[in-house]
Symmetry: C2
Subunit: 430 residues, 2 copies
């Protein structure tokens, strides 16, 4: 029986430092759980001279990745560098060197998950990635094990805490997007370059990972239609409330016959739905399956401790298996070949906000453009916004319509002389 499990760590940023902190402060608890000590053998960091607020002997630090990936005393490599490169290559090398790997890297798992899992299977090692989606919220193991007997119908996720914080501030404080973003940046909830979060790319990576587990198929994350939240204005939240909705950035996957509808964009959600009540930096993932029904998993989707909870859980699972002589290989159950449904084919309801000339007959012209494309209106709100310029704000909710028809109709609406601008465009869910 092994008395020691050697750990190598790639990356000593916020999450990496959290992992080190837990490995040190909980050493006894973890050893008891595993039946062997978890010993940190080597830590890769860019500049070892940079003093980090972590209680680590300098002999453990290296800027040479080979010292981690080839160290025979290291059983498990934890990757928390983030980003596609060189993290992907490091994980590949760790696997081919016979190391088990635990990663928090959503971009790598979204883009290269299938290849890496197959490689791990070939080299008879484990590759676990619980922290890659929802941080400390148990999701990956949940799909792999607890929901295994279910046909999954749909996933609706608030998968990005940064955008949910910004949207909550816009809804509750009446802020516009730039102010809410600025506030989130000051608090450290948004990065200096926030594009990955606010444009929905981060959520799309996570959706690709969950969908591949849920639907047993490989998906190209870059094929997921993505719309961010930067186009939303303060008044969209007021109109949403008038109609009885909240606005959330949702990642949506819905199983159809042999396609899956997959998209990330802001939605109007009925305000009494559970997901509409998820505020601030919290994440929530709703899963619908034929047996389990509708489940929701809720928690904080970011932060060093939250990620450590998932990373250390993965390390414990692998370590216990090593100690008991059990295999860590996960079967890669990607036996379906499903395509992402083209965005133009989805059907849903829509909200538009338009700036129009304030004169009789405007609504008739717009209704006709929509009607000509089989898009029918369910409600309209018209408010005088600028009596001097004779412009008004017109808000339209449609019945269910096909995205392609809606886009064509909106193109025609934009051409109308009486229409100054289509200011907002949000899909309605539920």
């Amino acid at each position: 029986m092994k008395s020691e499990i050697g750990i190598g760590l790639l990356g000593l940023g916020v999450v990496g430092s959290g992992v080190v902190e837990v490995l040190i402060s909980k050493a006894d608890k973890l050893a008891k759980h595993v039946g062997a000590s978890l010993v940190l053998k080597r830590v890769l960091m860019r500049d070892v001279s940079k003093g980090r607020a972590v209680n680590l002997g300098s002999h453990l630090l290296t800027s040479n990745v080979a010292e981690v990936l080839t160290d025979p005393e290291i059983d498990i490599v934890i990757e928390v560098i983030g980003g596609e490169h060189p993290a992907t290559e490091y994980i590949e090398q760790a696997i081919t060197n016979g190391k088990h790997v635990v990663t928090a890297n959503k971009e790598v798992m979204a883009k290269h998950g299938y290849g890496l899992l197959s490689l791990a299977q070939k080299y008879n090692v484990g590759l676990r990635y619980e922290a890659s989606v929802g941080s400390g919220i148990p999701l990956i193991a949940t799909f792999q094990q607890d929901l295994a007997s279910n046909e999954i119908w749909a996933i609706h996720g608030i998968l990005n805490g940064t955008t949910n914080y910004i949207l909550t501030q816009m809804a509750q404080q009446g802020l516009d997007f730039p102010s809410a973003l600025g506030q989130a940046q000051e608090l450290g909830y948004a990065e200096p370059d926030p594009a990955n979060d606010v444009e929905g790319i981060d959520a799309a990576y996570k959706l690709a990972i969950l969908s591949s587990l849920a639907f047993h198929s490989e998906f190209d994350a870059q094929g997921i239609s993505c719309q961010g939240i930067s186009g939303l204005a303060a008044q969209d939240f007021r109109y949403a409330r008038e109609f009885g909705y909240a606005i959330k950035l949702l990642a949506i996957a819905k199983r159809q016959a042999d396609t899956v509808e997959m998209r990330v964009h802001p939605v109007f959600l009925p305000e009494n739905s559970q997901l509409a009540k998820v505020d601030g930096v919290y994440n929530a993932i709703q899963v619908e399956g034929d047996l389990a029904g509708r489940l929701i998993f809720y928690g904080e989707g970011a932060g060093a401790l939250r990620a450590s909870s998932a990373i250390i859980a993965d390390v414990l699972t692998i370590s216990r298996n090593i100690c008991r002589g059990l295999s860590n290989v996960l079967d890669v159950q990607l036996n379906q070949k499903l395509e992402i449904k083209p965005m133009s084919d989805i059907e849903t309801r829509y909200y538009f906000r338009l700036s129009v000339n304030d004169r009789p007959g405007v609504l008739a012209q717009i209704s006709k453009a929509l009607g000509d494309n089989s898009v029918s209106i369910s409600s309209v709100i018209q408010k005088e916004s600028d009596p001097l310029a004779h412009t008004a704000e017109l808000v339209i909710m449609t019945h269910s319509a096909r995205e392609e028809a809606v886009q064509k109709a909106l193109g025609e609406v934009k051409q109308l002389a009486v229409v100054n601008e289509v200011s907002s465009f949000v899909r309605v869910e539920g």
Copy 2:
């Protein structure tokens, strides 16, 4: 490699029939997942002549339990009889005969979980019980694996769908308890004898199971203080709303130094809290840990399909391990010796509703009785309820106080000549 996993089923009630249905209708999917067919070999039912709405050959049915427990072709025994006896003995016999066991039985696992898990360890078989709490909501594996590195601080659970349905009807429709119970019985959400649900006993079993996983200690479910919902009246919900609260039956466990506060009773919950928004037959379990933070797991906590989701997940896990030659033994990590904190020692805030004489000085007398016991009042609502009888309804919210002091104070309040009755008594949480 085994090409077939033999399954024995104890009990063909609602849940048992659901399990049979899934094993038959999803045979291909399950076989692909496991790498071997799951074959139902024998089903115990009380009266085999009773035609059940299940597509089973009569040669599979037996009323002789030994035919299931000793059948050498059976690898896994699923127990869905429910109740303490004879289910406990059947599970014991299955284990000592070398069978793996999957059970949905909360009463057995709450009362005999430690002994049975130890027995399973001794006989080198698996004993899994995901369906025993929250039905299809993944919780047991979550604690065993995903939260393993966490110190758990607290569990707050809406663990019983029957009572949550009744409370929701009382809150939304203004029904009194007997009408809401009657409605739940008509819809099949409450049993003809509803005591186990409405008195909180069912929730206490589930709390004992979760607490033993969370705190790594054995707890006596019968030591959990339990108060049901039958004493609540329609006006308690109106007052709760006036104060900004919802009323829920909560199962609460909070870790202290070497005790755990464990109790099941109705509570006032702030109406904007996530658990307050869980309505109808849904369950929700909030877990707070040092690393993962605050997590909530939400879903339907009852029904044949929901339970089947968890039961079949357990069967799949065991079957895959059998096929891959891996052990199914779970380490029983009950290495802590924690006591349940005496109810008299807990500290919280309280709501009382009293019927009093409608005359000056009544509140002074009541305040004095409370104050003499160090229980201080935070708010009071007084309403004239019966001008003819000169009685009024008095509603009191207290600051945080010790249960023992509150009970003593209430005893003194009841003795006051001006007090007709203490009509309601609800603790406040959060």
